[in-house]
C-alpha cells in the first residue's frame, strides 16, 4: 500500500508539469488581451506603457518558466516567510495579478474562507440529504417515496443554479424578506446574533448548491444499494434471521458505500474551486467569483494560478479516493 502510494505520488509530478504547461498555453493563446480592460479614453502611448509594466509583451516561454519558478519556488518561500516571520523571499518577484497589481496568493487566501464555509456546508448538506434519500429509495424501490426522490433528483439535475438562485432571491429575498440577497464577507461570528446573521446569509446559497449536490449523490447511493440488495449474501443474512435493520444498515449499506465514498471524495476539489455562478449571484465573492472575474478581466496570471491549483487538488483527491477504496474494501489491495 505504501509503495503504491509513493509510486502514485511520484507519477503525479510529471502529470502536474504537463497540466501546468497545457493550462498556461491554453489560457495564454486564447484570444483576448488585458488591453481590452483599459478604457478607450486612455491614449495608445499610455496603453503601451501599462502593458509593458505588466510584462505582457515578453515571449511566452520566458513567461512560462518565470511562472513555474514563481509558483514552485518564490511563492512557497513567501509562505514560509509569512508563517515563520523569516525573509527568504525578499526581493523576489511574486506572481502578480494584472487586475489588482498585487500578488495572487494573498488574494486567493482572502477568498478561501467564504468559499470553504459556504460551498463546504452546501456539500455537507447535500451529502446528508442524499444518503438517506438514496438508501430509503432503494429499500422501497418504486414506492411513493422513491418516485418523489426521483423527481427531486431530476429537478436538482435539470434546473440550473442561476435559475433556482434567482427564484430563491425573488421568493425568499424580495417577497418574504427572510434572507439577505447579498453575502457580507466582512461579518465575523463573535456571538449568537452574528452567528444567526451568518446562518441567514448562508441559507440561500447553501440551499441552491445543496439541492444540486444532493441530486447527483442520491442517485449514486440508490443504484449502488439496489445492486447490493440482490446479492447472495443479503439473502444469506436474512435466512440467518437477522433483523431488516441489521441487513440493510450494516451489510448492504457498508458495501454500497464503497463507490459512493469515491464519488464524494472526488467531489471535494470542487469545494475549493467554488461555485462560479452561485457565488456571483449571492455576492459570496469566493474563489469561483475570483476565477470568473479574472477570466472576464483577462487577468492571465490569476486564471493560470487558480486553474493549476484546481489541477493539483483534483490529482490529490483522486489519489486519496484510490487509497480510501483500498481501505474500505479489503479485497482491493494494490501491492
Amino acid at each position: 500500500m505504501l509503495t503504491y502510494t509513493l509510486r502514485r505520488l511520484l507519477l503525479a509530478i510529471p502529470t502536474l508539469l504537463l497540466i501546468s504547461l497545457v493550462i498556461f498555453l491554453l489560457v495564454d493563446l486564447a484570444p483576448g488581451s488585458p488591453a481590452s480592460e483599459i478604457p478607450l479614453t486612455v491614449p495608445p502611448e499610455v496603453r503601451e506603457k501599462i502593458l509593458e509594466s505588466l510584462g505582457v509583451n515578453q515571449p511566452i516561454f520566458v513567461r512560462y518558466l518565470l511562472w513555474l519558478k514563481q509558483f514552485f519556488w518564490v511563492e512557497p518561500l513567501n509562505g514560509i516567510d509569512w508563517l515563520f516571520g523569516t525573509n527568504y523571499a525578499e526581493g523576489m518577484q511574486r506572481i502578480i495579478s494584472y487586475q489588482t497589481r498585487s500578488p495572487v496568493f494573498p488574494l486567493i487566501g482572502e477568498r478561501l474562507p467564504q468559499t470553504l464555509t459556504v460551498i463546504g456546508t452546501a456539500y455537507l448538506v447535500g451529502v446528508l440529504i442524499a444518503l438517506p434519500i438514496g438508501i430509503y429509495s432503494a429499500y422501497r424501490q418504486y414506492s411513493l417515496f422513491d418516485q418523489f426522490g426521483t423527481m427531486f433528483a431530476m429537478i436538482g439535475f435539470s434546473v440550473p443554479t442561476f435559475f433556482t438562485g434567482t427564484v430563491f432571491i425573488i421568493v425568499f429575498g424580495v417577497w418574504l424578506g427572510w434572507f439577505p440577497t447579498k453575502y457580507d464577507t466582512t461579518l465575523e461570528v463573535t456571538d449568537w446574533d452574528s452567528f444567526v446573521k451568518q446562518l441567514r446569509q448562508m441559507a440561500m446559497p447553501v440551499m441552491v448548491l445543496g439541492l444540486a449536490n444532493a441530486a447527483a449523490i442520491s442517485r449514486y447511493m440508490r443504484s449502488s444499494m439496489l445492486e447490493n440488495m440482490r446479492q447472495d449474501y443479503v439473502r444469506t443474512a436474512r435466512a440467518k434471521g437477522m433483523s431488516e435493520r441489521t441487513v440493510v444498515l450494516k451489510h448492504v449499506l457498508r458495501n454500497s458505500m464503497i463507490p459512493v465514498v469515491t464519488i464524494i471524495a472526488l467531489g471535494i476539489p470542487s469545494i475549493f474551486g467554488g461555485a462560479i455562478i452561485t457565488e456571483n449571484l449571492f455576492g459570496v465573492n469566493g474563489i469561483g467569483a475570483a476565477l470568473i472575474g479574472a477570466i472576464r478581466g483577462n487577468d492571465l496570471p490569476m486564471v493560470q494560478t487558480l486553474a493549476f491549483i484546481f489541477a493539483i487538488l483534483i490529482v490529490t483527491f483522486n489519489l486519496i479516493a484510490d487509497v480510501l477504496y483500498g481501505l474500505l474494501d479489503p479485497r482491493i489491495r494494490y501491492d
Partner: protein, 566 residues
Amino acid sequence: MKLKTALLGAACAMAFAPAAFAERGADGNVNVLYWQAPSTLNPYLSSGTKDVETASLILEGLAGFNEKGEVVARLAESVPTVENGGVAADLTSITWKLQPGLLWSDGTPVTSADAKFTWEYCTHPEGGCAQAARYEGVTAIETPDDLTIVIKFSAPKPNPYTAFVGGTSPILQAAQFANCLGAAASTCTEQNFGPIGTGPFVVTEFKTNDTVSLAANPNYRDPAKPAFATMTVKGGGDAEAAARAVMETGEFDYAWNTQINPELQAAMAGGGKGVFLNGFGTLVERIEMNMTDPSADLPEGERSTTKHPHPILTDIRVRTALSMAIDRQILVDVGYGNAGRPTCNLVPAPEMFASDNTGCLTQDIEGAKALLDEAGWVVGADGIREKDGKKLKLLYQTSTNPVRQDFQALIKGWWNEIGVEVELKNIDASVFFGGDAGSPDTFQKFYADVEMYANNFDGTDPEPYLAQYMCDKIPGPDNQWQGENINRFCDPAYDALVKEMSATAEMGKRAELAKKMNDMLTKDSMVVVPLVDRGRLSAASTTLGGVVLNTWDTELWNAQDWFRIK
C-alpha cells in the same frame, strides 16, 4: 419622468437640508454596491471606473468637476484662471494654492511636495501609470513654498485643468508612496490597498474585488462631515442584482451603474424603496464608417489602409442614406430606456460644446432610397441595390453584448428596407477592444465596412478627443494598428482646425471650433454616425439624502454630503 425624478430629488434635498448640518458620523453606516468590485484603491494603477470612483472616497485632487462640468476647488483655495492670475497669460503655467492647515488622514500636513511627488510617481517610465494622460505636456512642477504648486507646460495649454483635477488624478501622500516608484509600484500592496488620503473616508479593511470597509476621516477638513460614520462598498453580481438590492429589497443605499433593460427599470421603479438617477455625459454609441477598403482580396497589410479607398462608402450619399434609414428613438427604447437619448453629435456635451445638430433624429426611409437612386445604386432583381455589377453589401461588426446585437438586428432591418444587404458579425469584447496587432478582429484593424461601439472623453474638454480624427492618427501596419482615427478620415481642413483649437484659449472660440469639427465628422460628412447618447444610470435608496449624480467626475464625488433621511 426624468423631470419628476429630478424635482423629487431637489425637493428631498431642500426638505432635509437641515439634516446636513448634523455632526460627523451621526448617521451610522451607508451601504454602497459596485457590482464590478474595486480591484485596487490606487487609481494610478488602474483605469477602471470602479477603482477610480471608490478611491475617490479617500484620495482627492486640487479640484474636481461638479455635476454641471464646472471646475470646483477641493484641496485648492480657489480655481486659478487667467482672469485671477492663476494661469499665466501665455497659458504655459498654472499656479495652485493649497488651503492652509490641510491634514492627511494620519494627521500629517498636506504640502506642495506631495503634489510634486504624485507627478513624479505617475510619469515614471517604468510605472505603467494608467492616468499618465492627465500629466501630458507637464514639463516641471515647482514648489516655491509648502502651499504653492506651479505646473509648467511644454506648450500653451488652453485647458490646464488636467493634472490634479478630478478623480482620475488625485494627490498621493509622498511619505507613504516614497518607495513605490516605477517598477516597485506593484510591490506596494499595502499602500495601493490602503492609501492615506484627504477625502471624507479612510480605509479600514480592503478585500480585493469584494468589499471595502471605510470609516469617517477624523482629519477631514470640514469638522461636520461626513454624516456617515462608516461606509461599506460591496462588489459582486451583476447590474440587475444590484438594482434589485436597492430598489426591491432595500439592503443597499446606493448602487452604481444599474444599467438594465427598460422593462426591468420600469418594474423596479415601482418598488418604492429607491429611485433611479440618470445623467448624461459624453458616451456616444455610434456607427463608424470605414473610408478604406477592407476587402479580403487585398494582400495582408493593405486591407483597410489608406492605399485603397472604400469602393462603396467613399460616396457621401451612401453614408447619408445609411444614417437616414435609422430610427434612433426606437434604438433608445429597446436598449436603454431612461439611460439613453438619441443624438446626432459626436460631442453631445458639455452644453457649450454641443452642436445644435438634430437633422438625423427623424427616420426618412424614402429619402434614403432616393439618395441611393441618385448615387446610381439601382434595385436589382433580388431587392438588393447594385451599381456596375457590384452589389451594395456591407459587413457590420461590433462587440458581443445583448444590446448591441439588438441594435444590429434593428439596423439591419432598416438597411435591408432601403436595399442594402447586411452581414452581421459580433466579436468578443476582449478581442474587439484588445488591440492585439496579430488579431484580424480588433476595432482598430476594422476589417469590416461599418462597426459600432461607444466612446467618450475624460473630463469636460473635447480637444484631445476631436484630435483623434487627424490624418496622422490613422491605424495601419506601420504603427501596429494603434491609431485612434478608426474611420481613416483625413481632411487637411480638419487638421487645421485641430491645430487652431490647440492654440485657442478663449472658451467661446474653443466651443465654436469644437462644434465645427463635430459637424465636419457627423452631419457634413457622415463618417461618424452617432446613434445614442448613453447616460449613467444608478440607483439610490429613498432614505439616502444628498446624492447628486455627476457624469463629469466620479459618482461618489460628494459622498461627504450624503446623509440619512430620517
